[in-house]
Amino acid sequence: MILRTFLTTVLLASLLFGCGGSDPEFLDGRAAEIYGGECSGGNGKSVTIYSGRTENLINPVLEAFACETGTNVQVRWGSSINLALLLNEEGSKTQADVFLSRSPGPVGYLESKDLLGQIGEDVLSLVDEQNHSAAGTWVGFSGRKRVLVYNTDEFSPETLPDSVFDLTDPKFKGKVAIPGTNGSFVDWFTVFIDQYGEETATQWLNDMVDNDAKYYPNNRSIVEAAGRGEISMGLVNHYYNYQEVAANPDTHKALNYSFNDNDIGSLLVITAATKLASSENDEAAEDLLAYLLTAPVQQYFTDRTFEYPLAAGVVPNAALPALTALEIGSVDFDKLGGGFEEASRIVEASGILNR
């Protein structure tokens, strides 16, 4: 019996540890697209990142950074909201130097708790003024456009409306999905309130509820459901449909549709990088933030994750919807911190979450 257990363990261990390591000198896979050169030796610096962006897409960037600069990189992956809550719990004792958020909301939350540090002017100036905070506490590193994802069997672009306001039309009764509890939706709605006033925004959402809009928990589930035809259309970030098409090119029958350029429904929402106030690895943190905004990384974001580049003069991938209304990104995301709570309250009160 003991012998058997021993043998099983040895067998298992040899299986698990038996596979060979990769060449440490050069990167492979997606990371090599960002940096193809030889890895530099350690530079003695290290940086710890809490990343709300997922591993499959962001790790190549971090690997390239580690290889090219020789910085020691450690990461905690998780959802942006959970990580923001964790950072709040950890306060000044956190190990994190940098927090990467999928949407502005969690950043606003951390800012309201005074946990964010000041990013250097060198880094801030790499993006347009509207894409970093006035106080210098966060900097955008990629953009996602709000779009309407629709099922191609049920609708064609000609039959879709010019403005998000038209979705209250009886024509779309019971057809539209809204990710009411999703971070980037609430961010978008916060800007909506900021632009049109609370009354108009509340009225629009209530009309959507009256028009039998359906609640879905997040962008991903809407895009996936639209691809199957379970729902006809939904308000989402442009970015999810590309991933879904790449995963299921044959069966996924949904496309993105852009509202008019000047419509609030076409807002560009950014993903943000921040530095923690308690960080003791200031230099490495700045290095990383700057690295995210270099041309190879911005190129990677637009070609591989299908997001909008924000720096280094990189042109958006041709597959992305045109972004003539980039100035709509000039909406002051600084206001999101305070407005988030109000927006959540209106969403909750509208009753959409029970639909």
Binding site: L16, E55, W77, R228, E230, Q243, P249
Partner: protein, 534 residues
């Protein structure tokens, strides 16, 4: 042969240990109370408002429905596989605990994507001319998915109990001409009642704490209210969480009152339990078991297998390349296996003293500790993770000792899942006949020595099953693993989550298959092999 039982006061050493354990298990509860005070939350004013009543009602009604169905299915399956001549008994024992290992977000997604319009099964049915399949959403969807993934919480301990029942009573009943069904109702059910109740309570609490499945099924519960309030209105989120915990505490305490009958048998060593012949029920019982396992294991496996094979095929013909390599899968698999086994053993060791004091002695501390361990299960994992972080950061020595260690991760798992081990451990402890103890004492064996030489060997199979429950649940755990683990530590579940988030369904599918394979191995090793010694 019932003997009069005199419960004595517990020895002081044991009481101290149990008290210390209760303190450790109450970290999340104390954290919630503390934060409610510091954030100026006002849980009392929330009670009775619409904000809490309607989601609370939806949570409770779902939990009641899921517990009822899981109790029936779990008990029936336990009976069929442990005491009857059902076809393929060994296979069922291996298969039936597996649903525990599917992360609920993955399971729910598998159902939605397979059954709903445009899904694999839905398309299959429409080619057969069946147009209407039931849509997976809302109360019904959440109920179905949670029932299918939670019945093992009842099935596993109840199966262990059925195997342990003395045959003498059943034989007498038979000799007296009672039908098997009557014997089941009159003799077996009353003896297994407390175990069924304990398992059902776990299902109830799990359903209340669940977020992954209810969210995807778009059924709006109290956990959803808590999660959305967290960033926007933290004091409300904290108040709601505290109310949730208190509610769980009340339910757990009242369950203890109803099942005061302890899990006692004095004839656990009477050899193999009676096996019943199903006769004309053989085919229906077989069909029922196949039906349940097709839904609870077959459907998710079909979806997962479809994702995995589809993507692997596509990557070989020049589609999107895979973003994981073999090394990563091995590393995560090894992490998953090792950390969950350690957590399983630690959880059993942690609840053992509590179970011991509850089963053997009359002790208020024992009852209190038991309630603390069980009711913590109603808290979503995220709150446990935040609470654990909070406590290690408040004391310098704990910070130096535990920060960024696997020890803290294991501790968090034990607090989260200790409740699962409790029921089965209690059963194992109570099954050690008092007369063996008495005999040992008469022969002058010391108390400690009696425990190791008499109790422990007899309890081993039960403890194995208890560890199994914790291990299978730990393997799929997500929020604690993400937030508490040392930097750079990944498990299969965290990689599945990360892949799934960005539609890398192939990668998620591959790793989910590995997860299922590991759990087959563990089920065989811990639950089946050991349990056959009952």
């Amino acid at each position: 042969m019932t003997q009069i039982e005199i419960k004595r006061g517990a020895p002081i050493g044991l009481r101290v240990v149990v008290f210390a354990l209760a303190f450790l298990f109450s970290f999340p509860g104390i954290y919630l109370i503390w934060r409610n005070l510091t954030e100026d939350s006002d849980p009392i004013s929330l009670i009775g408002t619409e904000r809490i009543l309607s989601p609370l009602w939806r949570s409770v009604s779902l939990a009641l429905a899921v517990s009822a169905s899981a109790a029936v299915i779990g008990t029936l399956l336990a009976w069929l596989t442990s005491r009857t001549d059902i076809y393929g008994c060994k296979v069922w024992k291996l298969l039936l605990p597996i649903p525990l290992v599917f992360p609920t977000f993955l399971g729910a997604a598998a159902f939605i994507r397979t059954m709903n319009p445009g899904g694999l099964l839905n398309r299959f049915f429409s080619t057969l001319g069946v147009d209407q399949t039931i849509e997976m959403r809302g109360f019904f969807g959440a109920w179905l998915v949670l029932t299918l993934f939670c019945y093992p919480y009842v099935y596993l301990p109840v199966a262990a109990r059925f195997r342990q029942l003395p045959r003498s009573l059943e034989e007498s009943s038979r000799v007296l001409g009672q039908t098997p069904i009557r014997t089941f109702r009159k003799i077996i059910l009353p003896q297994a009642g407390p175990v069924i109740a304990a398992g059902t309570l776990i299902v109830f609490l799990y359903t209340i704490s669940d977020f992954g499945a209810v969210q995807l099924m778009r059924y709006d519960t109290l956990t959803r209210s808590i999660f959305t309030a967290q960033l926007a209105n933290q004091s409300v989120a904290l108040a709601l969480s505290l109310i949730l915990l208190l509610l769980a505490g009340v339910i757990v305490l009242s369950e203890r009152i109803f099942s005061r009958v302890t899990f006692k048998t004095d004839q656990a060593l009477m050899g193999k339990p009676l096996e019943y012949e199903l006769g004309k029920w053989k085919i229906p019982a077989f069909i029922f078991t196949i039906f349940v396992s097709l839904l609870s294991i077959g459907a998710p496996l079909l979806a997962i297998g479809d994702w995995a094979s589809d993507g692997i095929f596509r990557s070989t013909v020049g589609g999107r390349p895979l973003t994981i390599d073999r090394e990563q899968v091995w590393e995560s698999a090894w992490n998953t296996l090792s950390i969950s086994v350690i957590a399983g053993i630690a959880a059993v060791l942690a609840v053992l003293p509590v179970a011991y004091i509850v089963a053997k002695y009359k002790s208020r501390i024992g009852r209190f500790s038991h309630a603390v361990v069980i009711s913590t299960f109603a808290l979503p994992g995220l709150l446990i993770a935040l609470a654990m972080r909070f406590w290690t950061l408040r004391t310098d020595w704990a910070f130096d000792l535990f920060n960024n260690t696997k020890a803290l991760l294991v501790f968090s798992y034990v607090v989260r899942f200790g409740s699962l081990a409790m029921g089965v451990v209690l059963l194992a402890v109570a099954a050690v006949p008092q007369r063996l103890q008495d005999a040992g004492r008469t022969l002058g064996v010391q108390r400690g020595s009696r425990f190791f030489r008499i109790d422990l060997p007899l309890m081993t199979p039960g403890l194995g099953a208890a560890a199994g429950l914790v291990i299978l649940s730990t393997m799929k755990e997500l929020p604690i693993t993400l937030l508490i683990s040392p930097l750079g530590f990944s498990t299969l579940a965290t990689r599945i989550f990360s892949s799934f988030e960005d539609a890398f369904v192939t990668e998620a599918g591959i790793m989910a298959l590995v997860l299922v394979l590991i759990s087959f191995f563990l089920t065989w090793f811990l639950i089946i092999r050991k349990a056959d010694h009952f």
